[in-house]
Amino acid sequence: MPNMSLEKVPMPEQEPNVRNKNFKEVTLGYTEEMAVEEAQRCLNCKHKPCMQGCPVMVKIPEFIALVAEGKFEEAYKKIQETSSLPAVCGRVCPQENQCEKFCVRGIKGEPVAIGRLERFVADWYMENCKSVSEKPESNGKKVAVVGAGPSGLTCAGDLAKLGYKVTVFEAFHTPGGVLVYGIPEFRLPKDIVAAEVNKLKELGVEVMTNMVIGKVLSVEELLNEEGYDAVFIGTGAGLPSFMKIEGESLNGVYSANEFLTRINLMKAYKFPEYDTPVYVGKNVVVVGGGNVAMDAARSAKRLGAENVYIVYRRSEEEMPARLEEVHHAKEEGIEFKLLNNPVKINGDENGWVDSVTCIKMELGEPDKSGRRRPVPVEGSEFDLDADVVVVAIGQTPNPLIKNTTPDLETNRYGCIVAKEETGETSKTGVYAGGDVVTGAATVILAMGAGKTAAASIDEYLSQRKK
């Protein structure tokens, strides 16, 4: 008999006024009992509508049925058939736009908590099953993966399982991509990412950090001199955009990348135990409405800022951030200044930020993206006090690889052009996927692209005569 409750089993979480002072994970995860209870809300629909919302087609009804029976290990194996980072995706997928959006239980009441169940299963497995992955037999072929974000790690794992000798080249000193430098500890504990990377190492994947491809080695050299049979490029969209308004070079103005990298990768939140500093001051203005903006704002609050504002030029409905993060941010005391746009950053006599001049916006006609275009309300400017401004208005791919790989086609946004079904680029033997192809998107899409590319690299190299 299914559990007909209209609401999800609530997930325990830290109190807002406690958690906004620490970097420990906000949500605490289901217990076994809670997971079973929630799993029983699933109707095991025959036509599996939820699955069409999942970019990697996790076998949702099947794994949930196993959870309902208390078969957690089997549930994990079921998820693993199509997804390689369930502990991550369960936490960071925008489920409300993906799997849960199509869940029939969502028609009346809340959908089944697919993400929370996925996370539970992955965490349970990590805690209870110390399985050592077996190193597959080598097929003698070498593949280079550039970038250790979700796309690269997934591609590397899939290829290693097929017997390829895979080397991952990562520019930073720690693998994980946005999962380590962007998304904060309180949303995605870094131990989880490290555990995923260790699994890859057990499979025989070599991870070389501190290797900036395009500088220390080029893609060309990987193929022609280092003996790699194919290359996957998963270098993400790491180039920060600025607003190009007056005052952006003042002290106290950060790109979200710099702000979050200092805090997450360099652990400035543990300063001075760790050496890297970050300055937050009393009033922080974060510009943008996506996950990046929420992460920056909530981090600033945790570092002691008194007033943290999100300044976003559209309304809440258009905000691209995950629903849960917006909700959590509000609970934690972040103030939302919606339908506002910064026009100028003002400095004091020492070159430090002092305030931000914003203008009010109203929504006009829908633009190309279908979202209503914000237009400024004339004469509505006002000043917001600020010691720190964090610009979180988007990122584009870094041009380093493009500039050093002559016959690699890119589009006008600097994204590598790759076939969606295969990940093939204009250059033979070179594949690409994730944010470097799509522009800033999601973890699950990046992972899916890594899987797709791994499959077509395998096909290409199996067919190619040596």
């Binding site: 000193h173 900036v212 220390v216 920060p240 790109s255 500093p277």
Partner: protein, 282 residues
């Protein structure tokens, strides 16, 4: 891990280390830099590649002890290893077509200017090197520099080496005595580079400066190293670190270089305190 195979103390606050980093050594060119971390909790700190040996697979950096991170770097000796080293980063210097160059080093900037002088010298370019220090005890790598240029002028602010004067004064003197430079390379503190540029602008001599703003990734991903050049925002780590000095907005660069002053002091104080407390507990 990146092993230190050689260490030399050049003066009380400046040391040289030669580090095993074969991949970097293979590609390094003058004008480029590396970023290193001493240990797991350390900052990423950028240093110019002062020298490299492709056969031995080593990279040499010369560093000045100015704060917490450079202090802990200086605690390592031969045989110890660095946690991380990434590079070569930045654009290599381009010296095509020049015939006579003045290379100017201010203090530690001398170490950053040295590989450029050496490269020019090896290309057969006539190089006058003018290095300035506060006093004679701070003079570094004089012998290396001597071998990397045609004429070396070592100046001191207080005249304690018998050659009193700022580098700009010496440069102007040389220009006025008829030396025709088609390029000036100036590397040192921001105020010094600014002064050199003000001078060379007057004489219309193209001037390259090396910008060393605060950096994190060194790959164009944080934007922390942004500076204004010719009215445009540039990232020093990928567009530089060398720029046309006559286009650089030095005033905003000087303001930005003060960004973390307070926290740097805190980090340092705390390191000293921990060490003292450590001794008390021992």
């Amino acid at each position: 891990m990146y092993k230190i195979v050689r260490k030399e103390v050049l003066n009380p606050s400046v040391s040289l280390i030669e580090v095993e980093a074969p991949y970097i050594a293979r590609k390094a060119e003058p004008g480029q830099f590396i970023i290193l971390r001493v240990d797991e909790k350390g900052e990423r700190i950028p240093f110019t590649i002062a020298d490299y040996d492709r056969d031995k697979g080593t990279v040499t950096v010369i560093f000045q002890i100015v704060g917490k991170s450079t202090e802990s770097l200086n605690e390592l000796g031969e045989g110890d290893s660095l946690q991380d080293m990434v590079g070569p980063l930045g654009v290599a210097s381009n010296f095509e077509g020049v015939k006579k160059v003045a290379v100017i080093g201010g203090g530690l900037g001398t170490a950053i200017a040295y590989p450029q002088a050496k490269k020019l010298h090896s290309m057969g370019v006539s190089v006058d090197m003018i290095n300035g220090f506060r006093n004679k005890d701070l003079i570094i790598i004089e012998d290396l520099c001597k071998a990397a240029c045609t004429n070396l002028y070592t100046m001191t602010d207080d005249g304690s080496n018998g050659n009193q004067g700022f580098v700009t004064a010496k440069l102007e003197e040389l220009i006025n005595s008829g030396e025709k430079y088609d390029l000036v390379v100036a590397i040192g503190p921001l105020v010094m580079m600014k002064a050199v540029c003000d001078l060379t602008r007057k004489y219309d001599i193209k001037t390259i400066v090396s910008m060393n703003p605060i950096m994190i990734d060194g790959t164009g991903m944080c934007g922390g190293c942004r500076i204004t050049v010719g009215g445009e925002t540039k990232f020093a780590c990928v567009d530089g670190p060398d720029f046309d000095g006559h286009l650089v907005d030095f005033d905003s660069a000087i303001a930005r270089s003060r960004m973390f002053k307070n926290q740097e002091a805190e980090s340092r104080e705390r390191a000293h305190k921990c060490r003292l407390e450590g001794m008390n507990n021992a």
